[in-house]
Symmetry: C2
Subunit: 544 residues, 2 copies
């Protein structure tokens, strides 16, 4: 299983050449660190320990701070299997060495492969890249952390499977990595945390646990029923640092007999409210069963044209330019992308329900195309909706001309028109104040929306990066004041984001850290991830 | 909010009058226990501490063991609010007093309100029975543990809500209690663990946590997005003893514009295979979106007639009697109950898809009725499918004539015809060996089935009860040998069931107990629940 060639805009290629010096793990002398790396090399082989310049690719090329090395690994180690991971953990526990686990490290916009605690050693699982099982009739796969969406897609095509994957925006990401970060895609299987079933986890003490029905070691239901018997732990291993996930089940959607991809364009900025309220009813009623996306005009335009065609002055794009985009490209101020999957007759009936629901909005425009099971759409975004991984989301990096970077502000939004309008107004105004366009949209999950705003800036420009970071912090503060919290954050603000969840003086973080100390008493696994610090490193917390 | 009058077959009414002596908590002297109960009374008031005979209703009337007091509480305490719970926990931690938390204690067939560790004090939350919030547009409620499905249904009707509840088989159960035990219902919201969103939990140390978005204390998304930021803990509080859930969000289904209830009858025993395989495809394809039920002939007949009409000899009902049931009542050997919810035109198209899928099965018979939004069906099972709580499932208690009891064997089954046939054959044969009818069915959840077999026996008959318990143990052992595990179990076999999940020498239970010791170092919360014992009581474990 091989990843496709990286897209030409692979951010790693643009990373400025850095000097060879890397930070040491906190509290380590060079000689002691050399000894520990030697021990790791004796486990995984010298080729699979990265030192010096070879660690540069683990830096975050999109870091929203003036210092491009604000979060820097000391080294990286790439195990081949669970036994090697257990041996690495023995070394790490003995030496009190902080590790930072990544599946493949494609967590761009939130830190990439870089660690929260500078000097951590990246534990990179990309070599563990087998598709261990595909069950065609029960519609699931069992994968290792190094398996990307491209890999899984290729494995399915190779065996002429009739199962789809649900790719996230960037198809090169790890299936496990994306799921553990609670990433999402676009088909009815778009809630990746909800379509995961069964994990194998190596705990900090080296114990290997299989969750749910995986406890029945001769069983066949590990990938079929998540909870098993007793408490269910899978969601506790997401966005956390409680263990190293080495295998995961993922449900796959059987290819539908037919499907329809539709776009509905809305003319006015404040149509957002009625879009959200109408879409919610369609989702809760079961007509629209997938993650539909409400895309702003600028993001819609970025998939077609460069920014300079519309505006190349300083500061955010003026209203007149957005109007020109709408007029000249024939796109909406808001563009709703939806899909229907199933039998033709059912789809046709559902399409009428959808169009009837939006028909009263002044200036609404409908477009839709129905595909047979064996037809595939050509556009990248549309291909995602048909279960085909793409990298077209990375076009946003070209928006400013020249190599770009982005960091994402991702507040959770109630699926209510009034809330969506409020968050939109808040983000747009604050972004403009800091000189950024509103480059955003909403992904609809029934009762909630993932509001994702990307602050796009020129890569390698410390001023722009710092400005993006400042904007991010201001947005989090604004959101909190309005009663909203983010579902994910960049390394830079993991502590700050966690602190917003302050009910009862931070009871949820207290619970998280109690569990952390019980499972990882030496604090070796990903200290600081999502604001959870083991006792040993708790003084490192900072609400930057 | 008042519960309806208990149904006439309220098992509590049939509990044999027991002597006034109750066990003491392990390690307690009578005088010390009296002191502790006095302290509890000073918190909740004397009326809300139950002693002596007043504790009898907490016994399990269905206990599958010769000793009707195999699991007996020492006392019960009924707090009115979170502050009282915290005060009770202070006393329990100080005295090392084991508590056994129940929402309302309707966990019949699995132990009712009785504790795993005899002598525990039942912490009964039934007085906390407020419906705290109903959000009509975002379609959820926030409830306390004492709210039953009847209560919630009544609260919704009272405010002319267009939201449905999803009742489990017995509508008198607590919404929170049923969800925490991973109970299920029949509508598209039938997976109660999956339609729960947001909890307030009091930990053993008295700390009050709100999970997920509940950490944003001025927020509005607590009931809209379960994970929040960082690890998600809600599923860890299910089937466990890690905390006391005092509030929970529950998603509610908007009443559909129309719905259709269908029954498909199949003539032959081995049709089960094709039913399961076909139903799985319909569920994974999104045509059938709810928990459809495949009901055996005997269970189907029990909702219409008493057993004696067909057979009143000893031992299991012979094949000829089952054939008579099929012929005389016009029911199938297997009966598939399914429903479609939505717009009329969509339902009609989906019904054709369903009937086409099963049309090739020899002897298949279809029946279906479509309802408008404001119409309600009359039969109990059908009412459950329309979101109306009932107690008709308790008719099974009359199957043998005279007051009955049942214990359930609930193996998880892959949604594959071959597995369903295998489990059915296994259970039917072993049940017959112990003199029980195959009284069972399968509830379909996409990739898995909940296979539920009820061993029905005469209440108050120690021999019959012991025989049911022996059967249960034999079935668990058979299932394990075939690679299956149960998703739930009676108190009697909680340890045995947990031990079946033996991968890596019981790693999942080791993880569960590590978390337990971290969160409840004094072991005061529900020792032994689902096989999880705190360090203090670990010697009590027994694979009976």
């Amino acid at each position: 299983m091989v990843n496709p060639a990286p897209p030409s805009d692979d951010p790693a290629r643009h990373t400025a050449k850095a000097d060879a010096s890397r930070p040491l793990p906190p509290g380590f002398e060079p000689s002691r660190f050399a000894t520990v790396l030697g021990e790791l090399a004796s486990i995984v082989g010298e080729d699979n320990v990265r030192r010096g310049e070879a660690v540069d690719p683990y830096d975050d090329p999109f870091v929203p701070a003036a210092d491009p090395r604000a979060f820097a690994a000391s080294a990286a180690v790439l195990p081949a299997n669970v036994d090697e991971i257990r041996a690495i953990l023995r070394v790490a526990n003995g030496a009190r060495l902080p590790l930072w686990t990544v599946s493949t490290g494609r967590n761009f916009a939130y830190g990439g492969a870089a660690p929260r605690l500078s000097g951590s050693v990246v534990l990179d699982l990309q070599r563990m890249n087998r598709v261990l099982d595909v069950n065609e009739s029960l519609a699931y796969a069992l994968v290792e952390p190094g398996v990307s969406y491209y890999d899984l897609y290729a494995a399915l095509r190779q065996r002429n499977s009739a199962l789809w994957v649900d790719p996230p925006a960037a198809g090169w990401g790890s299936v496990i990595g994306n799921t553990l970060e609670r990433g999402f895609g676009y088909t009815p299987y778009g809630d990746h945390a909800a379509t995961q079933c069964g994990m194998e986890v190596v705990l900090a003490n080296g114990d290997v646990v299989r969750t749910g029905m995986g406890g029945i070691d001769t069983g066949t239901a590990w990938q079929l029923f998540r909870p098993g018997y007793g408490p269910s732990f899978d969601p506790m291993f997401m966005q956390s640092n409680y263990g190293i996930v080495t295998k995961m089940g993922v449900w796959l959607m059987p290819a539908p007999p037919a499907y329809l991809l539709g776009e509905i364009q809305f003319a006015r900025e404040d149509d957002l409210g009625v879009i959200v309220d109408t879409l919610r009813a369609l989702q809760l009623g079961g007509t629209i069963r997938h993650h539909a996306v409400i895309e702003g005009a600028i993001r819609r335009a970025a998939s077609i044209t460069p920014r300079a065609r519309w505006y190349d002055g300083a500061g955010p794009m003026p209203e007149s330019a957005v109007e020109a985009i709408q007029r000249d490209l024939g796109v909406g101020r808001w563009n709703l992308h939806y899909a229907l999957y199933g039998e033709r007759a059912v789809i046709d009936a559902q399409r009428r329900v959808v169009e009837r629901a939006f028909a009263a909005v002044p200036g609404v425009r409908f477009a839709a195309k129905r595909y047979a099971a064996n037809e595939v759409p050509q556009g990248g975004g549309d291909r995602n909706l048909a279960g085909i991984p793409t990298m077209t989301a990375f076009r946003m990096l070209d928006w400013l001309g020249g190599p770009g970077a982005h960091v994402d502000f991702s507040p959770l939004c109630p699926a209510a028109g009034a809330d969506a309008l409020r968050q939109y107004a808040l983000v747009k105004a604050r972004a403009a104040e800091y000189g950024f366009d509103y480059y955003g949209g909403f992904t609809a999950g029934g009762r909630h929306l993932h509001h994702v705003f990307a602050a796009i800036f020129a890569r390698g420009n410390p001023d722009a990066a710092a400005r993006a970071g400042d904007l991010l912090r201001a947005l989090m503060s604004d959101a909190r004041a309005a009663g909203y919290g983010v579902y994910r954050s960049h390394l830079l603000y993991m502590d700050y984001a966690a602190a917003q969840y302050g009910f009862n003086d931070g009871a949820s973080l207290r619970l998280a850290e109690t569990v952390k100390d019980a499972l990882d008493p030496n604090g070796v696994l990903s200290p600081g991830k999502q604001g959870i610090w083991p006792r040993r490193w708790r003084a490192q917390r900072g609400y930057t």
